[in-house]
């Protein structure tokens, strides 16, 4: 079988839900085909059992021939063995098909989420995407899973029809025409059922949103005693899901009952016709039993057919949601004809603010109002569109991946991910020496020393197991370990004490020597270590120089920086 997760989930065709499902199917056609082969063998074995029993009755029991009876019993045993073996194999392949499809979906969605970056949360609610992981992937998996049995049902139905046609044309036709007719009877029910399922699915999405909120908001809620509010909100949403579920049950139970009734009608008709034929001596008692066997057997393919239709309808709904997410395009996109990559050490210029980032130096960015600096960094890192030139090349003419690779941004929204600490520090490429150095520079070595498993320590979601200051230093170390051409840091030391900040500032200059670094800050400790300082006022660079020069020549700068100093004094 195959290894999961998949090496590469592939490029999905997400134009329509059906195309998406077809694409998933093509991606695993080999295991689906194998599943079908075993599914067909398995169901056909069941289908021919009535014929064998009929023969055994007529030749062995009615004919009173023990040899014939033994022969047919042996054949029946052989069929039984073949049936169970192929049944086991069919199941194995069905599980593989389920898992392959589910993994592919979750891999695609995760990749798309990283591809979209900030765009995703603007367009789709988090719960919606998470519901793909909790719900939709099962439905796509189910659709692939059911294929083997669906094919088995189709073939065994044809086999039964052919056998019946040979015995009696009337009965054969009843089966051949009756089964599709019965399926059509179920059709009108499926679409409203799908609608109600959809309603419930939407409510489940809301519910997932509330559950996510609980984890992220619990700390705050505890502080103000708001647990009851949360509990009641969850209860209200949960009850909505329940009522939607009851609405589904109303229709679903009718469908379930029809799955008993319609094949039952079939059994009654076949038995009635068969018995009349038998009374008129047109068929033998053995054949009558066989007819009943066929009719009873056909319950299975009929059920499978409705099950398959139901699963595919659900999968269609799920695929629609998945395709919607996959179709999203990031706000910041790749250019059609990318320009050549600028050489290392090219000058980065933000036209709107007039900031020219000197190559190879550590530039500190001070701004009044403070949030303007972060906006400049967003433009420089191409998180938002803006007129930015890098070595003379407009940033939007460069492939996004190249920009992300060479210009690394670590802003206040950067969080630690759950998983082994070492994995994210190394980011799959950095040498361990670079990681050590980065941790030292970020003054995070002591954080690491306190961890029993060091780099193998598993970080809790969003690094919640660390203190604010520890988190910030680890995030800084992660950014430093990338050893990028250009490093843009936003308020990277706001949560650490002055002593540590001074150490970080000193080491940062040494580590990043010869490479371009921008750090937004208003802390004098960092500013005094920066090789250059640019002062932004209302979004424009109004003064540039060293910290000492600006203190001496620019009163507005002095006000911003000393305000910071006063705050620090007050905090102590």
């Amino acid at each position: 079988m195959r290894t999961l997760p998949l090496e590469h989930p592939g490029q999905a065709d997400a134009r329509t839900p059906w195309r998406f499902l077809g694409w998933v199917l093509r991606g695993q056609w080999r295991t689906v085909a194998m599943g079908m082969v075993f599914g067909v063998t398995w169901m056909t074995c069941s289908a021919v059992v009535p014929a064998v029993i009929g023969k055994a009755i007529d030749a062995g029991v009615t004919g009173r021939d023990p040899h014939e009876l033994e022969k047919w019993a042996a054949i029946l045993f052989g069929i039984g063995v073949l049936q169970s073996t192929s049944g086991i194999m069919r199941h194995r392949f069905a599980v593989t098909n389920w898992l392959t499809a589910a993994y592919r979906v979750v891999q695609l969605v995760t990749r798309q989420a990283t591809h979209l970056g900030a765009t995703l949360s603007k367009r789709v609610a988090t719960g919606e995407v998470v519901a793909i992981g909790t719900n939709d992937l099962s439905h796509v998996g189910n659709a692939m899973d059911v294929l083997a049995r669906a094919m088995g049902s189709l073939v065994s139905f044809v086999v039964v029809a052919v056998i019946l046609l040979q015995t009696s044309v009337t009965l054969g036709l009843v089966v051949l025409l009756g089964v599709p007719l019965l399926l059509l009877c179920l059709g009108p029910l499926l679409s409203p059922l799908q609608k109600r399922n959809l309603e419930q699915r939407e409510m489940m999405g809301h519910l997932a949103n509330v559950a996510t909120d609980i984890v992220s908001g619990l700390r705050v809620l505890r502080g103000i005693g708001g647990e009851r509010v949360f509990s009641e909100r969850y209860r209200a949403e949960s009850q909505k899901v329940r009522y939607a579920g009851v609405r589904v049950a109303g229709l679903q139970s009718i469908l379930d009952a029809l799955q008993v009734f319609l094949p039952g009608v079939f059994v009654v008709v076949v038995v009635w016709l068969g018995a009349r034929f038998a009374v008129q001596d047109r068929i033998t008692p053995g054949e009558l039993v066989a007819f009943y066997g066929y009719a009873a057997f056909l319950v299975l393919p009929l059920r499978t057919a409705t099950e398959a239709a139901n699963k595919w309808i659900r999968a269609y709904v799920a695929a629609g949601r998945i395709a919607t997410v996959l179709r999203l395009e990031p706000d910041v996109d790749d250019p059609a004809d990318p320009a050549a990559a600028p050489a290392a050490g090219s000058e980065l210029v933000d036209v709107a603010s007039g900031l020219r980032v000197a190559p190879g130096l550590l530039t500190a960015l001070v701004s009044d109002p403070p949030e303007d600096a972060a906006l400049v960094v967003d433009r420089l890192g191409r998180f938002v569109e803006g007129d930015v030139r890098w070595g003379g090349v407009p940033l939007e003419r460069l492939p996004r991946a190249l920009v992300r690779e060479r210009i690394v941004v670590s802003d206040t929204a950067a969080v630690l991910f759950s998983g082994p600490l070492g994995d994210q520090l190394r980011a799959g490429r950095s040498e361990s020496a670079a990681v050590e150095e980065a941790l030292h520079t970020a003054a995070a070595a002591d954080v690491l020393d306190a961890l029993p498993a060091r780099l193998d320590t598993v970080v809790a979601e969003k690094g919640r197991s660390f203190s604010g200051g520890q988190r910030q230093r680890l995030v800084l170390a992660r950014a430093l370990a990338r050893e990028s051409d250009v490093l843009l840091l936003v308020e990277a030391t706001s949560a650490v004490d002055a002593h540590t900040e001074a150490r970080i500032a000193e080491r940062l200059v040494r580590l990043r020597a010869g490479r371009t670094t921008v750090i937004t800050t208003s802390s004098p400790l960092l500013l005094s270590h920066a090789e250059r300082v640019a002062f932004l006022r209302d979004g424009r660079v109004t003064a540039e120089g060293t910290h000492a020069e600006l203190l001496a020549t620019c009163p507005a700068y002095r006000t911003v920086v000393t305000r910071e100093e006063a705050d620090e004094e007050a905090a102590r």
Binding site: T126, L207, V241, Y292, V458
Partner: protein
Amino acid sequence: MKHEPPSTEPPADALPVADQSAVRSYLRDLFRRHPRQISFALTLHVLAAGAGLAAPWLLGQLVQAVHDGTTTAHVDHITLILAGFLLAQTVLTRFARLRSQVLGEQVLAELREDFVDNALDLPIGVVESAGSGDLLTRTSRDVEQLGYSVRWALPEWVIALVTAATTLVAAVIVGWWVLLPCLLGVPPLVIALRWYLARAKDGYLWEGQTYSTINASLTETV
């Protein structure tokens, strides 16, 4: 497929998984909370299964009658009875399924609400380090699995039990020797079932835990 050896060792900070006695007492509690609804649904399922067993019995009568020689009028008569039982089985199935699904929704809602209430009372560190993936998997996927059991597995099990019991009784009525081939199938079934049950729980626990991990990564990525 799964190449790693199935380890049921959950990550150190995941929420704990209940042991069997806790599960049993929760189930007992569940039955105690809805005794009437549960027995009503079960009775409907038993009746539906009983009605379904009329078909093979009537067929036996029919084959015997054909063998002994009979009229088409008699055939029509038995067919009508057959149709009557079918109708009864259909109606019973409808309401049995409806009742168990409605009950299932109610139990599920109670379950996830209890779960969230309990989670809200836990120390913050426990919930946060378990992460939203674990919480999401438990409130959605795990609860859904349980719902599947309440809505489908339990009724199917009851129907199977009724069918098996009735079939055995019918076999004994026909002749004690008919029981022999039936009993022949018991040892392999018991062996296979033991083999399966010994592995299934760990396997499913492992699977549930994997879903928690996947959901955690997905939530964080988003």
